[in-house]
Symmetry: C2
Subunit: 227 residues, 2 copies
DNA sequence: GTCTATATGGGGATAGAC
DNA sequence: GTCTATCCCCATATAGAC
């Protein structure tokens, strides 16, 4: 094992890595190509050689993470539906299939601190029009397929309510990946609560799923809630 | 009544209005002062005369909305605590006090389409360092006071879990204000579901509170959930 | 208070050598 | 595939007239 897993990235890969990090930290439109190439140790012309323009670089940065993430989500959903054999899978399992791959994708890498987390949140806000439609194209199929299955798990909710609570759920997920200072300031203060700081992804996912599953189980507009 | 309620804003007000709209639509760092003054019908030098710099303009744009919003939140929380007289208020009421003023603040204005909605989401992501601390300063007190009361409503959750679910809740709230195309695409398709499109804020709030209350009531790490 | 004019620097993109 | 050099536009900020 002389090289761990392609330790010497090509210029193209280094550009994508640097762009991803800077887009997340500084915002997409605010990050200049010059800053990216400086970080990647590359030349300005290399960006246009490899990607054609800044806009296409953005598209590649996003697709590189989102494509495998959504593929994994749908793969897990397929498996759940196959196991349920006609019936409805368990709501918690469906939500884990939706949220698990996202948390893994947004997880800080082993060496660098974080990478894709803030960018996920930006995706839903930044970008005047073009980027919004790009994101839409990436997520529409996944979202609709999950909505159908979640709807079968939640017969107490109308289709409109399902879609709305899916939106709430994505919001909770997106913010779960953030470490906003306001949420840390007094949560962990003295040394009284000695919890292991580096908790595993599975536990993070468990707590997020518990919350959003509670949200879906709550009563809808018509009548009763948790079965 | 020759003038309805200051129909002819001063330059300062027009600059704030234009900046707020453009910051929300295009992002803060991506919006140039030139774009703002063009929208406001003002001059470039006017920005520096009234605010000193772009950074201070940003601060004013945010404070103008956030200050009264958080004041209203705390006023309602005070009232709930006074009515509870020592005991814990009802969880749903506390959450309505937290989320109601935010939905009202983010509501589209009567003439313009939307205004402050996307900006609220951006607040939690955009801004390298300085803006984050500014936002922290605005929200820290409100968040901590609500966390304490919510904690009394949810004895089944640890302080850490309360803070984490507050974060989920803010995320759900932030995304509730967004109309991401992916979430509309098939929710309202044909003319079958004839719901009144312009639903009132109270109903929006009801549905959001139902979801997040369900999230808080779900079981925590130790044991039981909904009482 | 509001304007014009300008100083100074950074932005994306491209041509063309190697 | 990667570099240097360059075109042209836009950014914030300020000076100083009115």
């Amino acid at each position: 094992m002389s090289h761990s897993e392609s330790p010497e990235h090509g210029t193209r890969e280094r550009l994508l890595d640097a762009a991803e990090r800077l887009f997340a930290e500084e915002g997409i439109r605010s990050t200049s190509l010059r800053r990216i190439i400086r970080e990647a140790g590359a030349n300005l012309a290399a960006v246009h050689y490899h990607f054609g323009s800044k806009a296409e670089l953005v598209v590649e940065v996003l697709a590189r993470r989102i494509r495998p993430m959504n593929a994994e989500r749908l793969r897990r959903l397929d498996r759940l539906e196959a196991e349920a054999a006609g019936g409805a899978p368990r709501l918690g399992d469906v939500l884990r299939a939706l949220l698990g791959p996202a948390l893994v994708t947004m997880r800080p890498s082993r060496k660098g601190p974080s990478r894709f987390r803030h960018l996920m949140v930006r995706l839903h806000t930044e970008g005047g029009d073009d980027l919004r439609t790009l994101v839409h194209a990436h997520f529409a199929e996944t979202l609709q397929r999950f909505s159908v299955v979640v709807g079968r798990c939640c017969p107490h909710l109308s289709r409109r309510e399902i879609m709305e609570r899916m939106k709430f759920t994505i919001g909770a997920m997106a913010f779960s990946a953030m470490d906003h200072p306001a949420f840390r300031s007094f949560g962990e203060e003295s040394g009284s609560d000695t919890e292991p700081v580096g908790r595993s992804d599975e536990l993070d996912l468990d707590r997020l799923v518990a919350y959003v599953e509670g949200g879906f189980r709550a009563a809808g507009e018509k009548g009763e809630g948790s079965p």
